[in-house]
Amino acid sequence: MNRRSRTIFTASLLLGLQSITIGSLNAQGILGGSVTGNVQFDGQLSRRDSVIGSSDVPEKLLSNARADILYTNGNFSAGLRYEAYLNPMLGFNSQYTGQGIANYFVSYKTQTFAVTAGHFYEQFGNGMTLRAYEDRYLGLDNAIRGLNVMYRPTNGITLKALAGQQRYYWDTRGLVRGLDAEFSLNDIVKPWNESKTRLTLGGSFVSKYEDDETIPADISGFKLNLPKNVGAASVRMDLAHGGFGLQAEYAHKGQDPTVMNDFIYKNGEALWVSASYSQKGLSANIQAKRVDNMGFKSVRSVTGEMLYINYTPAITKQHTYAFLSMYPYATQSTGEMGLQADFMYKFKKETLLGGKYGTDLHFNASLITGLDTTRIGGKGTDGYSSSFFGTGDTYYGDLSLEIAKKINSKVKLTATYGYVLFNPIVEGHQGEMHHNHVAIADLTWKINRKNVLRFEAEWMGSDSKYDPNVDDKRAGDWIMGLVEYNFTSAWFVSISDQYAYNDGIGNYYNISVGYTHNATRLQIGYGKQREGIICIGGVCRQVPASNGLTFSLTTSF
C-alpha cells in the first residue's frame, strides 16, 4: 500500500472502530466508558512594529494548536495530547517549533489506590519541593513522564511515590524521584473525628539525579566536584478551627550548584506561613515567606522557565486590571522575603455605607525585599551567608483598595486605587525604582436581560520615563479606555486603547469580537496587545504580545 491508501485505510478502520465504540457506548457494552476532550487553536497574523516591540515575523502566520482526548471507563482512564506550534506564537520559546503527541498516560484509580504511567502532573503540599504543572497560555509544561503511585492504607493517610523525567519542549530531561505523606489527624484519631479543629500534617522528600560534567572552577586547572544526587525535603501543616486557619510549610534543599545560583554550594531553604480569619462578610489573610537559594531544577545547566521541579509561589495579589498588572511580580528563587495582607469587608444592605444593595470593600498590601547577604566567595564556595530576619533591597510592593457598589438594579460600579513599587532588578535590569499610582473605574450597565455594556477607565501615573537604552515600553504615564458590549452570553464586541500621554511611547488599540456557544468559544481581535491577563467577553486568560490579527478557538466536548 502506498502512503495515501494506507492513510485512507487507517481512517476507515478508525471510523469503523469508532462507530462500534460509540454504538456500544450508547448501549454501555463491553467497550463502554466515555470519551471527552478539548481543542484549542490560537493564531496571529503579525505586523512588525518597533514601537511596541513586536518583531518581524517572516512566516507571517504563527499558530499554537492542541487537542486533548480523554477516555474514561470506571476507574480506568487514558489520555493523549497533540500539540502543534507552526510556528510558535510570540512569547513562546522557539524550541516548541514542531508538532506531535506531547503527552500520553494511562491511569487506574480507586479511593485507596492509584497508579499513573506516562505523563502526569503532581504537587506535594504547596509545591515547595515538587510541583509538576502546566500553563498552556504561558507555554509552561514541566509534566513528569514516568510512574506515579498513590496509596491510602487507612482513612486519613495518603502516601505518594513517583519517578520520572521532566518534559523539556519536545524532549524529556533529568531524573526526579519523590515521596510524600499526608496525615489528616481527625480521620486517624477516632475521638477527633467530629472535632471542630482540623489538623493535617505532611512531609515530602524529592531527589534528582544527574551525571557528572565538567564545570571549571575559578582556580584554573580545577573542576567542580558536582553532587550527582540532590535532595530536598519539606514539612507542612494545615490547621483549621471554624473561621481561623493557619498553614505553614518549611523546605530545605541540599548542595545544588547550578547555573542559576552561579554554582555555589549553599543549602537552600524556604518558609511560608499563612494565617487567616473569616466570617460571613468579613475576612483577613496574612502571608509571609522567605526563600533562599531554593531554585530546584532537574538539569543544572539549563536556564529559563522549563525543568523546574518545585514551585515557590509569589504571594503578591494576582491583579487583573491592565495597569495594576503592568509590572507583575515573579518569585526570585535565588532569595527574597515577602509579606502580604488581604482584607475584605461587606457593608450590609440598608446601612449607612451599604445603601440599598450593600457595598464590598477589598484591601491588599504587599512588600517583597531581597535578603540581607554577605558575600563569601564565588563558584565552588557557599557563595554568601544570609541572616534569617535581615532584609535587602526592596523588590516590589503594592497596595490596592477596591470598592464595589451596586448603584441601582442595572448599574454596578467598581472603583480601585492602587500603588505599585517595582524594582527593575527583578527582571534583570539596572535602574531606578518605579513608583506608580493607578486609578480605575469599572462600570457595568445591564440595559436589559439581553444587552449589557461595560466601561473601564484606567489611569497610571509613574515617575519612570521611557529610556531607549532600557527599552521598557511600560514606562511613563498612561491612560486607558475600554467599552465592551455583550448580547446575552453569546456575543461580545470590545474596543480598547492604552495611550502613553507623558514620558512613554506607544498606543495599544484593540478591537475584539467573540462568540460563545456552550463550551465553544471563538474570538477574533485586531490591534496591538501587551502580554498579560486579559478579562474580556466574560472569561480571563493570559495572552501573548501581538500586533495585527489574532484569532482563538477553544472547545470542550
Binding site: G37, Y82, Q123, R198, S276, S278, Y311, K446, A519, S556
Partner: protein, 168 residues
Amino acid sequence: MKRFILTIAATLFFGLSFAQNAKLPENITIKTLDGKTVETSVINNDGKPIIVSFWATWCKPCNRELNAIKEVYEEWQEETGVKLVAISIDDARSASKVKPHVDGNGWEYEVYLDQNQDFKRAMNVVNVPHTFLINGKGEIVWQHTSYVDGSEEELFELVKKIANGEEI
C-alpha cells in the same frame, strides 16, 4: 506519521460529536476548605440538579457570576432544589486565600479546592469561568464557558427544565 496522527485526531473529533452525555467523574481527588481530602463522588444532590462552576479568586467574571447567583440562590433552591458546587482552580499562590474570599463574599456554596487541577483536566476546562449542569442521574447535560451579567437567568431556565425532567 504526521498524517496518521491528524487522521486519528480528525476521526476521533468527528466521531465524538455523536457521543452521549458523559457522567461526572467520581474518583478525582479534591480538598475541602478546611483541608480534608475527598473524592468528587461527594458532589451529590439526591437526584436534584447540580451546577458545577470552575472559578478562581483572581477571575473577575467568575466573581461576578458567583455574586450574582448569591442574590437569587435561595429562590433557586426553593424552586428547584438545585445546588451550586464551586471548584476553585487557584494554585499555591492564592489557594490559602480561597476560604477568606468565599466567607468575605458571603457565599453559601459548597466549595472545593482543585490545586493540582486534576478535576479541571478531567472536565476539559480551558478557561474560567466554566459552568456545568448535572442532571439527577449525574450526567453532564450542559456546559458553558464565560459569564456576562444576566446570563445567570439563562442558566436558571435550564435548571428549571432539568428539575422538571425535561431534555435540554
